[in-house]
């Protein structure tokens, strides 16, 4: 990710992330996961369905990335990510509690310092 792209990333509160509800539209063929060497920063990438600007009532696929800063939870490399079917964010006093539900698997519970949502401009 370039510096310019990083600059476009705006931290969101848990409530704002909850309102996005983008995680309901992740596609199975586009989810990927990147983890820094120390395992503290995690990026979950996928595609979401958004309403088309040129054709209302139609939806197009768009890339989206979630950055979890200071990740704390189970070994992320052991999580088999196929499809995110639900998500929940709760703002705690000094961190954010996150719960992802994967199709056919147990939920993934973890905490992080904060979450950033990255949507590249079309």
């Amino acid at each position: 990710m370039s510096a310019l792209e990083l600059a476009e990333i705006a931290p969101l509160s848990a409530q704002e992330l909850e309102a996005c509800a983008f995680f309901h539209d992740f596609w199975i063929d586009s989810i990927s996961l990147t983890v820094t060497e120390d395992g503290t920063n995690v990026c979950l990438q996928g595609s979401e369905l958004i309403e088309s600007v040129t054709a209302p009532d139609e939806y197009v696929s768009s890339q989206v990335a979630l950055h979890f800063i200071d990740y704390d939870g189970p070994d992320i490399r052991k999580v088999e990510i196929e499809m995110v079917s639900g998500g929940k964010f709760v703002q705690l006093s000094q961190s954010v509690a996150v719960q992802f539900t994967f199709s056919g698997q147990r939920d993934w519970l973890f905490a992080c310092k904060y979450v950033k949502l990255h949507r590249p401009k079309p």
Partner: protein, 158 residues
């Protein structure tokens, strides 16, 4: 009764191992999943110390031999950090999950007719457990046949 002995052994096994205590909750959830209509869930707020959440669980469930066994458990979460306790729903619990963090745990409680609850806590102070068969139950439309929980199942969830 064979089933009663099994569940008593299971609880004693948990009480002996601090690290395994959290595995109790998937066991409870497994039982609630068996007969959710029987599940009763109450919460005691500690107004003096807002960092402590106490859950009082009462969970009757049905065994294949048509006996109803009620489990009562009291769980205290110390170092609680999460939503306002006053907003916690007090209706039926569907599922509970726990995950270890570098310091403490993160937990999720799913309710039957309300949003799930997500919070952190430092440790569980104590788990009080009591189980007894309360009465026989025969319902003409009862078709569920749960398997009694055993230590093998518990270990795999822990």
């Amino acid at each position: 009764m064979k089933e009663f002995e099994q569940i008593q052994l299971g609880f004693r096994w948990f009480a002996d191992g601090t690290e395994l205590r959290r595995a109790l909750f998937p066991l409870l959830a497994k039982c609630t999943g068996a007969t959710p209509a029987f599940f009763d869930f109450t919460i005691e707020h500690r107004a003096v110390d807002k960092n402590e959440l106490t859950l009082n669980l009462k969970m009757p469930f049905l065994w294949p031999n048509a006996q109803i066994m009620q489990i009562e458990a009291q769980v205290k979460f110390l170092g609680f950090d999460g939503p306002e306790l006053a907003t916690l729903p007090s209706n039926q619990v569907q599922w509970m999950e726990f995950e270890r963090l570098s310091e403490g745990y993160i937990a999720s409680i799913s309710f039957a007719d309300a949003p799930s609850w997500l919070f952190r806590f430092q440790k569980i102070e104590e788990v009080g457990l009591h189980a007894e068969t309360i009465r026989s139950y025969i319902h003409p439309e009862t078709r569920y046949s749960p398997s009694p929980p055993d230590s093998t199942i518990i270990t795999s969830k822990g």
